[in-house]
């Protein structure tokens, strides 16, 4: 861990605004239910394509994006549903996209792996591992050249650390002091391969110092720890102090994609991480507040459920692209 030592969650939570906390909870709950519903639709056979889901990683997306401003940007990967919802894309525009509808956020031309909406600060997900890292540096370069106080958060997984793009992107962000928050969601597995099979030093945040900037490993299932680390890092970026690398330790509760049963994850490991669920943990500390009760959480859960049910209903009937749409949007 870094020199920042978080105080106990129970006391830490008292300083937060109630509505802010409930908003964070709603955002995590929305991601979990969205992913549950998408998995169901996919297995049911009504949703086309493939899916890479983020069950269990909700706190990383929500904690980082809560520290960003509306005009800040994020880059994401093939596992981007959570990032998109946390950045403000609606379940509706995303479900439409997953159904390949013309009304989707990418008009049905992106799909699950390229989810994004640049008008909401998220470029389409980049599904080549590590590919978004240099792009995020470029987004940061544009902010710096224009002297705007924006930052970009660049999400990638532990697998991306082995890519040349990671080295090149971090190095350039470092030499030019770019406002980039590199967010490594370390969920221990690149597809089916465990991190210790492909990395001698598995403490990914160590890499930052080699490039000359600050890195920090954070409990990625502790929502407030992620939020606080991200807020500090974003502030440093805005001050022109250069990039920060946050390594968020988390765990993927579902397969890498589609019907992957995760036989490569041991039962002990799964059970340990399942008992460390980010949403359950957050609920536990939320309920220590005197002004937050189970009825608040139930109300949010019902609201989120309605939102998703409506969005699914909409998406099932959304208009599909016309065949002629195949040829549009190739050139500006």
């Amino acid at each position: 861990m870094s020199k920042h030592i978080p105080s106990e969650p129970e006391s830490r939570i008292e300083k937060y605004d109630r509505d802010f906390l409930l908003k964070l909870y709603e955002s995590m709950r929305l991601i979990r239910q969205f992913e549950d519903e998408v998995k169901f639709l996919f297995l049911e056979g009504t949703m086309p394509g493939t899916i890479h889901q983020c069950h269990g990683q909700e706190a990383t997306a929500v904690g980082v994006c809560a520290a960003l401003h509306n005009d800040d940007f994020i880059t994401s990967t093939f596992r981007g549903h959570g990032h998109a919802l946390a950045k403000g894309l609606t379940a509706r525009e995303m479900l439409d996209e997953l159904f390949g509808a013309a009304t989707g956020c990418c008009k049905g031309k992106g799909g699950s792996m390229h989810m994004g909406n640049i008008e909401k600060g998220m470029i389409p997900g980049i599904a080549i591992v590590g590919g978004g890292i240099p792009i995020a540096a470029g987004i940061g370069l544009a902010f710096k050249m224009r002297r705007t106080p924006q930052v970009v958060a660049c999400f990638f997984g532990d697998g991306a650390v082995a890519e040349g793009a990671f080295h090149e992107g971090l190095n350039m962000a470092a030499i030019w002091d770019l406002p980039v928050l590199f967010v490594c969601e370390n969920n221990l597995y690149g597809a089916s391969t465990r991190i210790d099979k492909v990395m001698k030093n598995i403490k990914i945040s160590d890499r930052a110092a080699r490039y000359g900037f600050r890195g920090e490993t954070v409990d990625g299932n502790d929502l407030l720890a992620v939020y606080e680390a991200s807020a500090r890092a974003a502030e440093e970026c805005r001050k022109g102090q250069g990039p920060v690398l946050l390594e968020l330790l988390t765990y993927r509760r579902t397969g890498h994609s589609r019907r992957d049963p995760c036989h490569y994850q041991t039962t002990d490991e799964r059970e340990a991480w399942f008992s460390n669920d980010p949403i359950e943990r957050f609920i536990k500390i939320l309920l220590t507040r005197s002004d937050i009760g189970q009825t608040d959480l139930d109300r949010i859960e019902a609201k989120v459920s309605r939102e998703i049910i409506d969005a699914v209903e909409q998406a099932r009937n959304a208009s599909q692209p016309a065949a002629d749409d195949l040829l549009t949007d190739v050139y500006a």
Partner: protein, 337 residues
């Protein structure tokens, strides 16, 4: 009016565009180094004095700085990327092909990537890895535009059009045509200078141009081969063979209108390409012409290209590799039999 080579006219074009629009910037290896070269071929020499904040000299990291340029372009900047030698594009091709070319489509038309990539190509005594004609690898990538400049006038006008275009544009430039001076001069260079008007002008990105009119056979080529084809046509004229020389110039999209008019007139086609014959640009042009104008052809289309081997070092072998004026002339004569 002033006489300039390609390196000089590109330099002026870049400076004028940077002056006109503050979102335009240059990024690449060995640019903006005081006492340095101005890129591998002097094109950006001295621009750092005028635009100290907009000449981004990068580490040797092609994948990385192409990604950086694309990210900046998506935010509304207009980067001009300088890759020292086209061969290095293989390192950057993930960013160019998977991101620059597809971002608009994948986003359903919401994103744009106004990116200019300047690519020096051609066999020039450097062996296999600083020599390839890279245009073949990019013309079939939807979302990219590709142009090849063979003289200083086109280079200036096309660079300006490319900077103002909202799509990724790859400009292929030939090392023997730059007219680079001093220590970066190339031996075996061919004169590609032009009279450059004082007033501003643009050259479209999607038009071929007739360099020499003729009625007997249409010769299609670009870059260095466009010059060699003109020289060949001059020698053929003494045998009363009148070749129409078209500089294809726009490699993606290909200007079948201009080329087609010529083919309908002559009924005979020779395509000249530096680079291996198999899978080359000439294969695409030949197929495209057959589909559109096959009924007008009086003889099979002939391609003059390099053999299917890597670019060799030995000058003897390199000269055998690169199509030359006698080979072009011979192919044209054969078409007339």
């Amino acid at each position: 009016m002033k006489r300039q080579g390609i390196a000089e006219s590109l330099r002026d074009a870049i400076a004028e565009e940077m002056e006109r629009d503050e979102t335009v910037f240059c990024i690449g290896e060995d640019i903006a180094v005081p006492g340095g070269w101005g890129g591998a071929f002097t094109v950006t020499l001295g621009l750092e004095n005028k635009f100290p904040d907009r000449m981004i000299n990068t580490p040797i990291a092609e994948l990385g700085f192409f990604g950086v340029a694309i990210g900046a372009a998506m935010m509304g900047m207009r980067p001009i990327v300088d890759v020292q030698y086209g061969d290095f594009l293989f390192l950057a091709s993930d960013q160019i092909i998977n991101n620059a070319a597809k971002m608009r489509y994948m986003s359903g038309g919401k994103c744009k990537v106004p990116l200019v990539v300047r690519v020096p190509v051609g066999a020039t005594g450097r062996g296999s890895q600083h020599a390839q004609n890279m245009e073949r690898y990019f013309i079939g990538v939807p979302g990219l535009k590709a142009v090849a400049v063979s003289n200083a006038y086109d280079a200036k006008g096309i660079l300006k059009s490319a900077v103002r275009d909202d799509n990724p544009v790859m400009i292929f430039e030939h090392k023997l045509l730059y007219g680079s001076k001093g220590t970066r001069a190339e031996s075996g260079g061919v004169d590609a200078t032009s009279d450059i008007p004082e007033e501003e002008f643009m050259v479209p990105l999607d038009r071929a141009v007739i360099r020499r009119e003729g009625s007997d056979v249409t010769v299609l080529s670009w870059l260095l081969m466009a010059h060699f084809s003109i020289f060949a046509a001059e020698s053929l004229a003494s045998d009363d063979i009148h070749a129409e020389i078209i500089d294809v110039r726009s490699l993606s999209p290909i200007d079948y209108e201009t080329i087609g008019q010529s083919v309908q007139k002559t009924g005979r086609v020779v395509i000249v390409e530096e680079g291996p014959k198999t899978g080359g640009v000439s294969a695409e042009i030949a197929a495209g012409l057959l589909e559109r104008f096959g009924d007008y052809l009086q003889a099979p289309i002939v391609r003059v290209a390099s053999p299917d081997v890597p670019v060799p070092f030995s000058p003897v072998l390199e000269n055998a590799y690169r199509p030359d004026i006698p080979r072009i002339a011979e192919a044209v004569r054969h078409q007339m039999l």
